[in-house]
Structures are given as structure tokens and as C-alpha cells.
Symmetry: C3
Subunit: 250 residues, 3 copies
């Protein structure tokens, strides 16, 4: 079980989710992948999730919650795509995973999670009360539709067809200040030049140690995303980058 | 085993505590509930702990350490209350848990942890050297008084009878900027209005998606506390709230 | 398995490392010791690691990665010192561990990790792709040289003989604002006085509760380092201390 959320780690949210998982599926190891996915921002998170989910083997369950509309009318869903299982809100978070799996000719299916009649459901924490129990059921093998609590979603439900296949924006700034874009590096020319909002132009390098200390560059990160970095420095501070900053390929 | 501390997660404190627990009780799963409980503030932490401990099943051991007086003369204790076990400093941190259990007619008992003669005891990290080993013993079933290293505490020892039953202050600001009070929402009228120190008046809502983006409100959070929030925003920044900020019910 | 890195916990790095460890060595418990070791600073980190590694039992494997030169030509190594195993970059991070083990007359050996021919190796994340698999092999008992993928390092390779035995600088600022030096307290006189860069002079105390609230002091922390602290306050803010700040013994 892999967690991809904007819950943070210090406070109660990830802990309570893990307590539910521990109780329902004690034999399933849990990996914290992202607890700082773009906060309340399913669109940016969708490109990050699609890049990082691929690294995990087929059959992995990704409990994925970036859910600013919790308590509202977006459907809670289980998605099967690219051989993996995704559990979370139908708010676009799984759009890019689904689209790329479809483009590769792989099966993509989706079911609505129905509330368990005997389980309490808070208005603000479906990660704990709805998504974690469903993810535990899937991890234990009760995949839909055998798990009777789910209904198939109608085709096209909740899709975001207007979102691009790759996103020329910063989608994540890591702990070191490196700024990941929503662009897959494999789709970019080796000589592509990135222009930041502040007008800096960046060429491609292989990795940090290939440029001088303090130099800014872009490179293919360890999960295939085009990432802007500064050797021995913070790209976010040096170049004024944050989640949502546009990047232009010139 | 549930951890409720102000130790943080990045540095060595939680890791060393978990190494002790892993060594002494390898079969006991450990859940990080709060690693950012109100720092050096057992009073605010007491209301937070009482709200979040209730969510765990009877028999749960909560290793709870917010201990600004470490190395001084506060007693290290094991408390039995509401069917759960609490291990930590007798500095008021367990006052609200104990008081509410007593009010519900449940047994409340307390024992002093005695230092193990052969174990090293640092002057500044009783969480690792004293509380974690004691919590591991309790989790493995060696509950007091069978565990001979504990003495019963005299009635009333370390109690904080001057603290209110509910605290009209912010006791925790979460990762999203939501500000939890020490007030149980169930005890408040549906039409109660909160006034912040800055003079903002807030009415009750069911959850985030029931108010417009940017609107501030209060609601019953997923653990029963009255919490101040802003839909799609940060209540702490928007309303100038931090741990200790008073809230007035008008 | 103990993790000592500058990877942070929120983002993908520690999670992907743990996924590798979980897959390769599922029976080996993993402890997060430091995920905020001095960022890109193997020299400061070396003194911190040497103080905290000693606390773990012989045979412990410490996956230790502070690696600003990732992708460059520093060797990836497995080090045996003081009866423990260290896996990470040969950039000085293990200098102090090795030196102190040698001074104590204990065996110190070092092997270069060779890339597994069938495993992908990113240019920027050797923690995941090279060090974690090697650490898992060691934790499972395939210690060098039996594990054929490692070559012994030549004597003296990568050593930093110019670094002092103890470092009179701040090497870590913890979650509370306490500032650890790279000095072992046991080597200092009880009456030693520390002078900070701002000219404050600090005397020794046993622990926090032995000085008045707001008072600054130094003390032997729970792992033997001389640490500068303020009772009920933040030493980093009060005294202007950060990693790298020099401390003078007067």
C-alpha cells in the first residue's frame, strides 16, 4: 500500500489513516510516498502521481487523497489503471494515470465506493473513514466488482479532457528546492531550453555534478519528470519557482 | 502503540523511541498520531490528547510525551483511564483524559514509573530512556501493579483541578492551517458564534464544501473538536490564529 | 536498518528507499534516525553520525546518505567500523566513525559497491538505486567480501585526515531549536565556557530544569554531544545559531 496525499506527517491525518490500515490489513506494508502532494490541488497532483506511480509494481494499491471538495458531491472511487489500483476522490487526481493507461491500450475501469452502512463517516475526513477502508479491502484482494460495495462509474464520469497530456508548470518543489515540472523528459528534445517566469533560460544536464556549483539547469529526474535544479543550491529560491509557476519551452 | 509527542519526526527523537520500542516489543505496531503536539505546552496538549485518544480502541497504549520539565521533579507515570493506557510525564498532560473518564464513572488509576536499575537514564530524554521502555512493557501485557517497577500514585497527585473542562483556546493548528480549539463541538449550540481575537465572528457549518471558497467558519472536526477553518484557505493566516489564541463564544 | 539522510520525509525520497528495502528485505525493521541530517554537508553530518550511530547495537546497518556529489566520481561504499555497517557515499561522511573506531583499535574496512548489471541506475538518486539495495543485502547477511559485487577500497581512499577529531561548530539544530555541536562533552572540562559568534558566554548545566526559564546553557545531550540550549526557548533564534556556526571554548 502506497500513500499519496497532502495530509502531512506530523499531525493526526496520516496517523489515523495508518491506524485504519493497520487494523483492517495488518499484513500489508505501508509506504509513505508523498504526504506533501500539491495541497488542495488535484490538477498538479495528477501529473506527479502519474510519474511516481509507474515506479511501483503491478498490483500496487495507491491510496491517493488530495481532496479539497471533501464532504461535497465528487464521487469516491476505486480506479484500475495500468495494472495498479487507485483509491481516492474523483476530482481529476486520476485523470493523467487513466489517460496514459488508455493511450497504452491498457484496461481502465472505475467504481464508486459506497459507504459501509455500519461505519461512521465524518464530513471532513473521508481519507480515514471511506478511502482507507476501501484501500484495505482492495489490498486484501477484494477487488471490484466482487466487493459488493462498489458500483461501476459511467464512462467519462469525472474526466478532465481539457487538461493537457503534459503540464508545462511546476507541480512539486522538493525538500532541496528542486522544482519538478509536469513534463515527461523523454518527450523533450535534448536541446530543449526552459524559460522560467523570471526570464531565466536553462539548458539540459545529466545530473547535478555535471554543472558548476550554483548553476541552474534542467534534467530528467529519477522518475522521468523534467526538473529544474541548482547544483548545491535551491532552485525554488534562486529562480522564484513554486507549484503552479509556468515553464516555457523555447 | 500510539505516539503523541512534540518530538518532531525528522530528527533523532522519534527514531530513537521507535528503536527502543522495536527492540523491546517488536510485535507491537506503532502509529505516529501527533509528533507536533503543542511544543512544551502540556495544558493545550491535554485537550488535544483527550479528543484524539478516544478514537482508539480500549486497551490502546498511548506513549504521550510533552515534557518541558524533563530532568526535574515531575513524576513519570502510567495512567489507566477510559480503558486505555497512557505513559508519560505527570505534568497535567493526562488531566483531561482522567477527568472525563472519572466523569463517565470509569476507573482511573495512576502509577509512578521507577527507573530500571540496570538501564542508563539521560537527563534530557526520558521519552527514550524511561517512557518508551515502560510503554513497551505495558503493550506486552505487564500492566501495573504486576510490573513491579511501578508504585501507585497518591490520590490527586499532579492533578490540575483549576483547568476548565473545555478550553476556549486554539490548541492545535494543522498542516492546512485549520485551528482546533479545546472545545468539544457536541457541547456547543448549533447557532453558537465564535469570535476570534481579531474580532471576526464565525458561524457553524457542516464542512468545507458547504461554504464558498475563502469563507471562514467553525465546524465539528472528525474527532469532535470545534475547529476554525477557511474553505480553500488557511485559517491561521487569514484570522491570525496560533496555539494559545483565545476564542470567545458570543 | 537505520536511515541517516538529508532526504526529508514528506516527499518521495525516503518513501522510495523504504519501498526498495521492503521489497528486498521485508523482515528487516527500518528506523528513521535522521531525515534532516545537514543538507548537502557531509562534514557536519560526519560528527552527528558518529555520535548517534554508537547508540545502536553492534551489527546494525546504517544506510547513510548525504551526497551532494551524486552522479559524480565519489565512490559508493560499504564501511565496517566499530562493529556496525555503514552504506553510502565515500565523501567524508564516514570519516569520523572510521577514525574513532581505529583509535579504539577496532577493525575498519571498506568496499566499493559495484552496480548490479541488471538494475537501473538513475543519475541523481543513488540512495534508491544503489545504496538501498546494497544495505538490504548487508542486512540480510551478505556482508562483503562474500557479496561479490564489492571491491575492497585501497587504504586511505577518500579519507579526510585534515578534519579535526571534534568539531567546534554547530552540526545540527533540532526541532526545539537546540543546537548540537560536533564536540563530545566527555572530552570537555566541567567548567568549560562556550562563546557563541554573537559573544554570548555559556556555562554548563546538567539539563533544562536546572536553569531558569529563558536561560541559555550548554550540556551533554542524550547522545554525548555538547549541545547549546535555552530552557523553555529556542537557542537557535535566541543566540543566532545555525549549522556551521563556530563555537569557541574559552
Amino acid at each position: 500500500m502506497v500513500l499519496f496525499t497532502d495530509f502531512g506527517l506530523l499531525g493526526p491525518y496520516t496517523g489515523q489513516v495508518k491506524a485504519v490500515l493497520q487494523s483492517a490489513a495488518p499484513s500489508v506494508p505501508v509506504i509513505d510516498l508523498f504526504a506533501d502532494a500539491p495541497m488542495r490541488n488535484p490538477r498538479s497532483a495528477a501529473y506527479l502521481l502519474a510519474a511516481y506511480a509507474l515506479w511501483f509494481p503491478a498490483g500496487t494499491v495507491l491510496l491517493s487523497v488530495v481532496d479539497p471538495g471533501v464532504g461535497g458531491d465528487r464521487a469516491p472511487v476505486i480506479v484500475e489503471a495500468d495494472g495498479r489500483w487507485y483509491v481516492g476522490p474523483e476530482n481529476g487526481l486520476f485523470e493523467i494515470v487513466m489517460r496514459r493507461a488508455e493511450a497504452a491500450g491498457m484496461a481502465v475501469r472505475s467504481w464508486e465506493i459506497e459507504r459501509q452502512p455500519d461505519a461512521p463517516l465524518s464530513a471532513s475526513f473521508h481519507g480515514r473513514d471511506l478511502f482507507a477502508p476501501a484501500a484495505a479491502r482492495v489490498a486484501l484482494g477484494a477487488t471490484p466488482p466482487a466487493a459488493a460495495v462498489q458500483e461501476p462509474r459511467p464512462p467519462g464520469a469525472g474526466r478532465r479532457t481539457d487538461w493537457p497530456d503534459d503540464l508545462p508548470e511546476i507541480v512539486y518543489v522538493d525538500h532541496y528546492g528542486n522544482a519538478m515540472t509536469g513534463l515527461r523528459a523523454a518527450a523533450l528534445a535534448a536541446e530543449a531550453v526552459f524559460e522560467t517566469p523570471g526570464g531565466c533560460r536553462l539548458t539540459r544536464a545529466r545530473t547535478f555534478s555535471d554543472v558548476p556549483p550554483g548553476a541552474a539547469f534542467w534534467y530528467e529526474n529519477s522518475n522521468g519528470l523534467a526538473e529544474i535544479a541548482v547544483n548545491d543550491g535551491r532552485a525554488d529560491a534562486a529562480l522564484g519557482l513554486a507549484v503552479g509557476s509556468p515553464v516555457r519551452i523555447v
